[in-house]
Amino acid sequence: MKAILAENLSKTYPKGKKAVEGLHLSIEPGEVFGFLGPNGAGKTTTVKLLNGILSPTTGSCRIFDIDPFQHPESAHQISGVVTEHAQMYDHLTGLQNLVFYGTVFGVNTKESELRANQLLETFGLADSANQRLATYSTGMRQRLSLARAMLHRPKILFLDEPTSGLDPESTQHVNSMIQRLAKNEGITVFLCTHQLRYAQEICSSYGLIDDGTVFATGQLGTLRSLVSSGLTVRIEADHFPSDIPHKKTGERTVEINVQDESEIPSIVRHIVEQDGSVYHVSARSLSLEEIYFSLLESHKSKKENL
């Protein structure tokens, strides 16, 4: 059974805006799936479709074999959702909010209180537990939302920009928490984010979306193989031949993209043959960020050529 299965899922908003088009997704249980794309790409719309909050224009989806549009109650019971617009009550304290949502998710009051206090502790909110939400900062609200989504021990978490508004320390903390949940408790995570560096640290697979269309999915290795160059070679030399395409990054340093390591010796030989002295050579795989931009660019140019 897949954690998330979407087939030809599309959503056109009433005024004609095609927010998501022909989406196919297949995500295994326990995966941390990074859903990446620029503003307005359709990430939040997808999260709402997968939770049955929006009705699909075409296609269908299943969350652990439950159709969220036909049976939202069952789908919601196993999902925890954090989105920007899902806020809590200002006149209640952090603890009261959590206990309320615990009860609404069918956790009994005693267990809710226990879980709430644990999670407040985990998210560094124990000191503010009895303050009204109105007094919380943006980052504190965000962390309370994360705690709220985890109260009922969901099998799957939908996190839409969970670390927006968080300081680097809290971001780091939330990310390691997500990783731990997936690893130790087998929770599936559907993570929409713009923070590509963090995404690379915690996600096990990815989907890249732009303008409503997913144009690449898979693990980092799969995405890397889609890019024409898989390696970036950094060379420091006092002379660099102009017939090799390169990017100058410093007075004596350049970066070249190559497919694999076997191309490096011939480049170095070429420099030396032209009387250049080589001081440094290092190679590293493309980061998620570089792959993302490279794939996004080629997707955009392909679309324009159509």
Binding site: L54, S55, H76, Q87, F100, Y101, T103, F105, G106
Partner: protein, 262 residues
């Protein structure tokens, strides 16, 4: 009602108590209709014997059973059994309105509605919880108002006239059947309006347009019905209860998440 729905109701009622704008409004309604107006009626009758004696003829025309009491007490009894019950249709409608109008739009404006929609309850169950919370509140206010009114009126009458006030069967039908059914109908319609509204102002306007005609109708027609017979009152009460039940059922597929969040 399951535990989750009860939690939503508790949260809503609690939110109302904390609301500095709505809670005072809630207190004013029973204060005016259960304490101030009845007291004014009693005092007017007591201190204006001249006009009252002219009512003798009118009183004789009405089918009011035993005529042994003195005229002041008869006029007061007439008012309490045939006019003031009207207030107890107005009180539940008005107090329910205060909470029901903001039931959905309030959550929409505070951006808590989406969070609520992610919970494992069907929309119908969420509507039920919202409607029932307003209903409980309106019944609580109504019965509290009745108790307050009776305490005040009996005390005043014992002090002024030295004899207690006797209520007739109209009150039983009004409090147990008419008030609940009329307020339930109003609440269902107002909660639906609140779900459609984009802002609190819009919801309030909708509500006023809905409630004003009802209130005018009630005030205009009800006294007449009270005078005709308690049986007619009972019949109307039963019909209203049935309509309220039908309304409750009919909304099942009227809303979905998408229209609610728009």
């Amino acid at each position: 009602m399951n535990k989750m729905q009860v939690a939503i109701m508790k949260k809503d009622l609690r939110g109302l108590v904390f609301n500095k704008r709505l809670f005072p409004a809630l207190l004013i309604v029973p204060l005016i209709f259960a304490l101030v107006l009845p007291t004014i009626l009693i005092l007017t009758v007591h201190f204006a014997p001249e006009d009252i004696s002219e009512m003798q003829q009118l009183l004789d025309l009405l089918p009011l059973g035993e005529q042994s009491q003195d005229i002041q007490m008869r006029v007061i009894g007439l008012m309490f059994n045939y006019i003031i019950p009207v207030f107890f249709i107005i009180i539940p409608i008005m107090s329910a309105t205060i909470m029901a109008a903001s039931s959905f739009v309030g959550e929409k404006e505070k951006r808590t509605l989406e969070t609520l929609l992610y919970c494992p309850l069907s929309l119908h169950q969420i509507f039920q919880a919202k409607i029932f919370a307003s209903f409980l509140l309106s019944m609580f206010v109504t019965f509290l108002s009745f108790i307050l009114m009776m305490l005040a009126a009996e005390t005043e009458l014992l002090l002024i006239a030295g004899s207690p006030l006797l209520l007739n069967i109209n009150w039983l039908v009004t409090l147990l059947l008419l008030s609940p059914s009329v307020s339930l109908m109003a609440i269902i319609l107002i909660v639906r309006g609140s779900a459609k509204a984009q802002s609190a102002e819009e919801a309030q306007q909708r509500t006023i347009f809905l409630i004003l005609p009802v209130l005018l109708l009630v005030v205009g027609q009800f006294t007449g019905i009270l005078l005709v017979s308690a049986w007619l009152l009972l019949g109307i009460g039963i019909v209203f209860t049935l309509i309220a039940g039908l309304l409750m059922k009919s909304g099942r597929n009227k809303f979905n998440y998408e229209t609610l969040l728009k």
